[in-house]
């Protein structure tokens, strides 16, 4: 759908905020009130009223023409207005109010008509009607509307919620608080949109867009240059290529920097809203009232909920009964310790019953939930969005991806292609209509092969989900018909039972497929995007290394390497999440399951403090196992405990490990892991290579021996 409808400022989509909302009537659309205004003005003129009375309606001096101010000796009398003057001022105020009412009514009505037409035109009357029914008839929709009405303020909160008795005491405070909190967060968001925060964001966005355009242009220039290579001398080509590549790299860096800035702005805004939104809600709720639903605290047994009183609780006034209409005059206050009474607040009408225990439970739940949210959530958000810290080692993806690294630099616009589409595999897949989970006989040696097969089923899964929806709907209808039957035969009962079984089975299948679709396949698409991103950065690094001779070269390289490390870290996390998902579901082929290292085999190398922590122990041993099987350790922060331990332990196990420490980035890259099969192993420390893993053969406290061509290696002993 090319055009999207909702045009009001949308805090979810802050980029929309600069657009003029379509919901605001266009010029001329609100002509009615304007014309009405003009007519009224003309009428006033006819009545001989002063022209600028609307501009200064409260200014009593505006009547000077009709009621000249007394002067000279009568001046003292000017402070006391003649009765006729007071009457006229009141009249003008009334007129102004009338004008505003007419204007507001017209504006509100015009907006409704226009938006209604637009919505029906865009989505069709039928669809609009269906969603509208959802909002008006279904519980979830009614709650949405109730929240809307509370926030609109046209109906008292307690009257809207409409829960009765004890469930109300437990539920309504939560609902009311949630609505208020959403509202407060919403206002804060609007505040952020209106005030400086978003102007900052907008400028970052503009800069980012400009950088994107620049990047595109540079890429085009580079592509043109490639095409015209034959028309120029090699030196000339080199000169131009160097310049363009350096520009591309710089612009790319700008884009990445700005997108990080944008992300951190959003993070800060969200954390602020969650934290202060919750505190503000607690304060507002406690002072002004939290709905307790419809209650019957005065002790009369009224079975029908419609005759219950609606109740609000607040620190200031205690529990209040709001009678129909919820006008302030219809409020009675219950017996309640009220600190404000001591300060001279109204005592109210005491009904003689305290708030029941359930009421306090509901209130406590509402307030404590918000407090938890205020304290915990911002922390979670900031943890989730935290920029990568290099304290924890993460590991580059298995070699499958790296092997696709292009030999020659390619323009960034054409990132290396994604792993080959598994057409061959698709042919092999079973023709069954339901998406079958991995067929056991299929040869799927690598994680990428496995995932490509799953991804190829994405359409199939979506179709199957639709089919399940239809089937479920039909079965439910059929079952309903059977339920409605007056005299059910045994056959009917059996049919109902069968239908129940089929519905249960289909619902389970639906859940599994949805889980996979949302939990793993979408993540896999992200993973592929990240891989492309990593390849692009690798391309940049190669180009900079090859062509860039500017003074910024090292800085650029450093930045790009850090970005690459970030990508690889994310890729590895995604791979792990996806793999875990399929493993949990029991769908991962045995071959792809991570081997569980025997705890007795390698744990002798573990530092003491890790040995006692089962979770950490498993993590370290798993890392060691994957380093052994994949012969790869991802870049890690130099000096990182786990990273250094891996290097050290591999050497103790008879591997040659070459490392490259980059003092600029603070990262250690492992360039080689190779198992030596003879006594030449320089890392063996005298342990026989034939049985490097034999318990007792390596000494965990042995100092690591130097190795690697870089000559930089000096791994720290485990535990440092």
């Amino acid at each position: 759908m090319a055009e999207k409808l909702s045009g009001s400022p949308n805090p979810d989509r802050t980029d929309d905020t600069t657009d003029a909302p379509f919901t605001v009537p266009e010029e001329g659309a609100l002509a009615e009130p304007s014309n009405g205004r003009k007519n009224q003005k003309r009428n006033r003129r006819e009545r001989g009223e002063k022209r600028n009375q609307l501009a200064n309606p409260d200014d009593d001096d505006s009547d000077i023409d009709e009621n000249p101010r007394p002067s000279g000796p009568n001046r003292a009398q000017q402070t006391k207005k003649p009765e006729t003057q007071i009457g006229q001022t009141e009249e003008k105020k009334e007129e102004k109010r009338e004008w505003r009412l007419q204007n507001a009514s017209d504006v509100i009505s015009t907006i409704r008509k226009r938006e209604n037409e637009r919505l029906e035109q865009h989505y069709g009357k039928g669809l609009k009607g269906k969603v509208s029914r959802l909002l008006n008839e279904k519980p979830i929709g009614r709650l949405v509307k109730a929240v809307g009405k509370i926030a609109l303020g046209t109906i008292g909160a307690s009257l809207v919620t409409g829960f009765y008795g004890t469930p109300a005491l437990l539920l309504t405070p939560y609902l009311h608080m949630r609505a208020m909190r959403t509202a407060i967060e919403g206002v804060m968001e609007i505040g952020q949109v209106i005030y400086g925060e978003v102007s900052k964001e907008r400028s970052v966005r503009l800069e980012m867009n400009a950088a994107h355009c620049e990047l595109e242009q540079q890429i085009k220039r580079y592509q043109d240059l490639e095409k015209r290579q034959d028309q120029m001398s090699y030196d000339e080509y080199q000169k131009w290529a160097r310049e363009i590549v350096a520009n591309i790299a710089r612009t790319e860096e700008k884009v990445i920097e700005q997108s990080n800035q944008l992300a951190s702005l959003h993070k800060a805004q969200h954390a602020f809203r969650v934290k202060y939104g919750a505190y503000a809600t607690i304060a507002v709720g406690a002072l002004n009232g939290v709905s307790l639903g419809a209650q019957n605290f005065d002790g009369q047994a009224i079975p029908d909920g419609s005759r219950y009183h609606h109740t609000l609780w607040s620190i200031r006034k205690g529990a209040e009964f709001l009678y129909e209409g919820a006008a302030p005059s219809n409020v009675e206050t219950m017996g309640h310790f009220n600190p404000f009474h001591l300060l001279g607040g109204d005592t109210g009408h005491v009904l003689g019953h305290g708030l029941p225990a359930e009421g306090y439970v509901g209130l406590f739940a509402a307030f404590s939930g918000l407090l938890y949210s205020a304290i915990k959530k911002p922390k979670q958000i900031s943890e989730k969005n935290e920029k990568y810290q290099y304290g924890e080692p993460d590991f580059a993806p298995p070699s499958g991806n790296g092997s696709k690294k292009p030999e020659a630099p390619t323009p960034p616009a054409e990132p290396p292609s994604t792993p080959p589409a598994p057409e061959k595999k698709k042919e092999d897949s079973p023709p069954a209509p339901e998406p079958q989970l991995i067929s056991p006989e299929k040869k799927l040696d690598t994680f990428d092969e496995f995932m490509e097969e799953r991804a190829a089923k994405e359409d199939e899964i979506r179709d199957r989900l639709k089919q399940i929806d239809e089937e479920l709907s039909n079965f439910r209808k059929e079952r309903e018909e059977l339920f409605k039957k007056q005299d059910k035969t045994d056959e009917d009962r059996q049919k109902i039972k069968d239908l129940n079984d089929r519905i249960a089975k289909l619902t389970k299948e639906q859940k599994d497929l949805r889980d996979e679709y949302h939990g793993a396949l979408i993540k896999y698409q992200d993973l592929k995007d990240m891989k492309r991103g990593a390849e692009r950065i690798k391309g940049h690094i190669q180009r900079i290394e090859k062509y860039d001779e500017s003074p910024d070269r090292d800085k650029l390289l450093k930045t790009h390497r850090r970005i690459l490390a970030d990508y690889e870290r994310d890729i590895e996390r995604h791979r792990k999440d996806i793999r875990d998902f399929y493993e949990r579901k029991g769908l991962l082929p045995d071959k792809l399951k991570p081997e569980k290292p025997s705890n007795t085999e390698h744990d002798q190398y573990l530092p003491d403090e890790i040995k006692t922590n089962e979770q950490e122990k498993a993590k370290w041993l798993n890392r060691l196992q994957s380093a052994i099987t994949e012969k790869k350790i991802g870049p890690f922060s130099t000096g990182n405990k786990l990273g250094e331990w891996l290097v050290d332990t591999l050497r103790k196990l008879g591997y040659v490990v070459e490392r490259k420490d980059d003092p600029d980035t603070g990262l250690t890259e492992i360039t080689k892991i190779e198992k030596l099969e003879n006594d030449d192993n320089p890392n063996q420390n005298g342990n026989g290579p034939d049985n490097p893993t034999a318990p007792g053969s390596p000494k965990p406290d042995d100092p690591p021996s130097p190795s690697g061509p870089s000559g930089q290696d000096s791994p720290k002993p485990p535990g440092n």
Binding site: L5, N10, T23, L101, K130, V147, G148, K149, A151, V284
Partner: protein, 118 residues
């Protein structure tokens, strides 16, 4: 910065009804009721638009099917899986609407006052 912004405080916007904010508390009940109906209808339309705008064409068809099926749980799951929080949307839309109306009326009043002074 427009002058009405100074009046935007969360508590006032939430707790005061639109008639209080527009200083039209004493308007005739009949007119107020008509305005309430219009406002509720507009907000409802905006909520609908916001929900549908979040969906792609095939997802809209899927949503429509769910509405036809009358299955509350499926609709709830659908919202969850598409990260649609109707409560959040409703509140945002209402607050936006309140601000918008107050702003529009204030602007028209300023404009009228300007016309009168000229």
């Amino acid at each position: 910065m427009p002058s009405w912004i100074n009046d935007v405080d969360p508590q006032g916007l939430i707790e005061k009804n639109i008639f209080e904010l527009l200083d039209l508390k004493d308007a005739p009940e009949e007119t107020k009721q008509k305005m309430i109906n219009d406002m509720v209808q507009t907000v409802e339309n905006r909520i609908i638009a916001r929900i549908l705008d979040r969906l792609q064409e095939p997802e809209i068809r899927q949503f429509e099917q769910l509405l036809d099926q009358d299955d509350d749980n499926a609709i709830k799951n659908f919202f969850e899986s598409h990260k649609i929080d109707p409560l959040q949307i409703a509140t945002q839309e209402v607050l936006n609407y309140k601000i918008e109306i107050i702003n529009l009326i204030a602007a028209k009043e300023d404009e009228a006052a300007g016309d009168d002074q000229n």
